[in-house]
Amino acid sequence: MKKYSDLEFLRLSKWQKFCYRIIAFFCGIPGAIAGFFLNIGKTIQKGFQSFIAELKDIAITFTTGDWKTKVSYIVMGFGNLTHGQFLRGIMFLLFEIVFLFYMITTGGYWLSMLPSLGHQGPTKEYNAIYDQYTTTYNDNSFKILLYGVLTIFFIVAFIYTWRANVKQCKTINMILKRGGKLKRSGDDLRSLVDESFYKTLLALPLTGILVFTVMPIVFMVLVAFTNYDGAHNGYSNALFTWVGLDNFNTLFSWQSAGGGQSYSATFGEILTWTLIWAFLATFTNYFLGMFVAMMINKKGIRLKKMWRTILVMTVAIPQFISLLYVSKMFARNGLVNLTLQGMGLINSPLPFWENPMWARVTVIIINIWIGIPYLMLITTGILMNIPADLYESARIDGANGWQQYTKITLPYMLFITGPYLLTSFTGNMNNFNVIYLLTGGAPTNSAASGAAGSVGYTDLLITWLFKITTGAESQYYLASVVGIMVFVVVALISLVVYNLLPSIKNEEDYQ
């Protein structure tokens, strides 16, 4: 494609500009992908180089260091302790002792079992005295995997700390050589509320994220490579074990997997609806929310606060109450149908939840009901921030209401709320509550249901994942694969959209 210079670009007509942008975007994709892999390559190379550098540094520190440094290589914190930095020294030492104790008592066991995930499942035995079959629980694959992962985390943390300990010795030696003064424990503590205050602030949140978010995700990603399911739960029946990429093959094979269609067809079908849903749910809410906000903000409309309060009230009421109630309202013999029939408006009930198309539309409409108040709040604030003189000058130029909207309001809004729209789109892709509480996925998609469990026309990937997990066969491994695919899809969309958004710029500009 032809590349225009800035000047040439400005001369193009509006339509040409638009086409040019689109073409440029698509032409840019291969380059972006290549760049991505190139980047990965570079990162790996860099990582490798810095690893070598680290090793070198460790070796040099050892050979050039004094005996205290050398002892520190085995007894962590020795260097700090002997130089009067008691707080650091004791923490290093304590950590080492705890680590060694843990590894010797239990950590070693978990680590050694990790490759096999256990040898002996539960055994049953007949006890004649009590005329009972008793069960002895032996290896537990689940725990082996869980604590194996935790132990690896722990080892990484230990290596990192050990490296820090070595660096400390190096720094101490350097400072002493320069004749400088070492930091005392008091200094360390003081710095924690001042220049290193961020460490104090982050310690707790990051620990939480590490244990309750990172570790579970690592674990569940690993489950995708095992055969963990209801029949191999690793504890009260057969153990589970590593199966390599089998599960990915299952999901992506085009072979029929019981039922009329393959997993990949089912996955594709659900993914398509998930994307359609996310798009519609995001943009219907966005525009209608903006519309309501503009109505309330309109000059000359009284009782602004009351209108807003009425809508906001619905944000406050827990979704499980409102959604469950509304779902019953729209049932075949629910309030809506019975009222319409009573009034003689319809002869037979409307198939809100029975017809695929009806169900999908109903879900989107009810989602509007749920979402508008929130969007109304967000857009109200931004609308009020649009400089009034922009409208004033537009009015003088003779722009009508619609023109003002398309030329001023909308561009401004889209610019400011771009990132919000993206998060809201990905949020809607994973909008479990609305679908689960309203339809539970119904009506049944007979073609897609089968070995992959019951699948409905309104099922999103996330509700499908939930059904797989809690369904008859509890196919955790499949749920894990689907989860990974959800991640891939969300990440791809985010990556593409992120690069298209105009308002992604240097975050420092905001301040």
């Binding site: 005295i129 005329d131 079959y133 069960t135 537990n140 209801g230």
Partner: protein, 548 residues
């Protein structure tokens, strides 16, 4: 100073690890079982506490004392036990009082501190499978979940005494419900897990209840619903049974499914599909079995006895109960069939045999005649106990009576593979979406057939292996006995005590696609004796070889 952060992080994680690790050891290490009692194992193999005491606390002598084991058992079992029980919300109060009654009446010195939690039968199975160790010690669940539960290691196999207890008290049908392979795994609580028709007498004339077509007309005329949850395999399979189709499942001793044998995809099945189409294509059709339907414009609801009291409350004297109606295809009437099944009481596998024994004692009490009759009275649940079934209390309940009428057309629910429910319910969805033509209906059935076959992609080894089946070895055409191949000849692994006139067959792949007896007929035993069964693959001849 990064290091301090690293240290903090690491330490916190460590506490998490240490805390978790403590719990972890019991799973990872080996647990030794209380071996103290094993020394007299050889001497006393009688069940210690096969207590048949049916709730009457004034007759302790009424213990079914089988060979003196009871005395030792009672003293051994004496003590307090904390037991968690999951039962449906409606039954919690009754269950609590029954546990109290057990505490005061049992002669073994067992005292149960029961925590009774309201958990529905469906949830109980799912919860138990999610985490057996955190599950209840006793739990009510529906019979179709049994294989899943056995597979997940969530129910314990019954001991000898307990097996005798269930065998002597319960109907044959309910015994089949708790059986996998040749063992029993739970106690039957009810034998009423089927469905009947409730109708509103103010809308439906009593004389119309025999004909599906008339009922549909009545409902359409009145603008009311006919609630029949046909988009659920439990209900729609009944229609197929009504026209003479069958659906049989085979499990091995571990509760693993081996095969399914069903003929829904046949000419008979087509008739059933036509019957289903009649209802689902009507505007009065409502896919529901919710008992509150009568408050919501329903005239007919097909559901079970558990809805009896709720429906009685909303309809009062307008409540009618009946067996399911018949539908007419090409001039022939076909009575709608149904599943008949049981609700069961499961006992969680225990590591301590003493606790297991006490839990089993309680389970036996809760499923005895007295307790079952109490459930008939307060909940309307139909009993599985033989004596309780003919008790006047039971016979006075109209729902149970209707269910008994229906039982002629019902099929005992076998153990069913979990995925079947999802596959089976789709038949109705497909029929509903079709135009009702023969081709479209056949396509729906064919799809079902393909789906179900795909679930059982057996290994070639199992597919090609021959097994013996018949009214032999204490089984009745429900257990496959394995054979070993030597050249062309397969020989049964076990010997059988056969009597003249016993019938058997040899089949391949544990299904009826290929089977031989005397040619295509059953092989009939000519003389009493103990035999090995042999089968020659090349000549397809079945023969008996006397053992020893």
């Amino acid at each position: 100073m990064k290091k301090v952060l690293a240290l903090l992080l690491a330490l916190t994680m460590l506490f998490a690890l240490a805390a978790c690790g403590g719990g972890g050891e019991s799973g990872g290490g080996t647990q030794t079982q209380a071996p103290a009692n094993n020394d007299n194992q050889g001497g006393n193999d009688n069940p210690p506490a096969n207590n048949d005491n049916q709730g009457s606390n004034d007759t302790p002598a009424n213990n079914d004392n089988q060979g003196g084991g009871t005395e030792g058992g009672s003293s051994e079992l004496a003590g307090e036990y904390n037991v968690t029980i999951w039962c449906p919300d409606l039954a919690t109060d009754l269950t609590k009082s029954q546990v109290e009654a057990f505490n005061s009446s049992n002669t073994m010195g067992i005292k149960i501190n029961a925590t009774v939690e309201p958990v529905s039968e469906a949830d109980a199975a799912t919860n138990m499978i999610n985490d057996v160790s955190a599950g209840a010690d006793l739990f009510f669940f529906a019979q179709d979940q049994l294989s899943r539960m056995i597979q997940a290691g969530a129910v314990s196999k019954l001991g000898q005494g307990a097996s005798d207890f269930v065998k002597s008290n319960n109907t044959a049908g309910s015994l089949a419900a708790i059986q996998a392979g040749s063992d029993y795994y739970a106690y039957p609580l009810t034998a009423d897990n089927g469905y009947l028709m409730y109708y509103d007498k103010s809308v439906i004339p009593d004389e119309d209840v025999d004909s599906l077509e008339k009922l549909i007309e009545d409902c359409e005329a009145a603008g009311k619903y006919f609630a029949y949850e046909l988009e659920n395999a439990w209900y729609n399979a009944g229609v197929f049974f009504g026209v003479g189709c069958h659906s049989d499942w085979v499990t091995d001793d571990e509760g693993n499914f081996i095969s399914i044998d069903d003929d829904f995809n046949s000419d008979k099945g087509l008739i059933a599909a036509k019957g289903i189409y009649k209802l689902v294509s009507s505007p009065c059709y409502l896919n529901s079995s919710a008992q509150e339907g009568f408050d919501n414009n329903c005239a007919i609801i097909v559901t079970g006895t558990w809805s009896y009291s709720a429906i009685l409350k909303s309809l009062g004297e307008n409540m009618g109960t009946a067996d399911l109606p018949s539908f007419n295809v090409d001039g022939t009437d076909y009575h709608l069939g149904s599943y008949r099944g049981c609700k069961l009481l499961g006992v969680k596998p225990q590591t301590d045999p003493k606790v297991g024994a006490a839990a089993n004692q309680l389970a036996q009490y809760l499923t005895n005649k007295e307790c079952q009759l109490q459930r008939v009275e307060t909940l309307g649940w139909g009993p599985s106990n033989i004596e309780a079934q003919s008790d006047p209390i039971t016979l006075a309940n109209p729902a149970i009576t209707a269910l008994n009428l229906q039982s002629e057309y019902s099929v005992m629910q076998p153990n069913i593979h979990g995925s079947w429910w999802d596959i089976g319910k789709v038949i109705t969805t497909d029929i509903k979406e079709s135009d009702g033509s023969d081709d479209a209906l056949r396509a729906a059935l064919q799809k079902y057939y393909d789906s179900i076959q795909a679930v059982f992609t057996m290994s070639d080894e199992v597919k090609n292996a021959w097994t013996v089946i018949g009214a032999i070895g204490g089984s009745s055409w429900d257990v496959d006995f394995e054979m070993t191949k030597d050249g062309d000849v397969w020989t049964s692994n076990d010997t059988f005590d056969l009597k003249a006139g016993d019938e058997l067959k040899v089949r391949q792949g544990k299904n009826w696609d290929v089977s031989y007896g005397n040619g295509g007929e059953n092989y009939v035993v000519e003389a009493d004796g103990t035999y090995y069964v042999t089968f020659n693959e090349s000549t397809t001849e079945v023969a008996l070889v006397p053992a020893g």
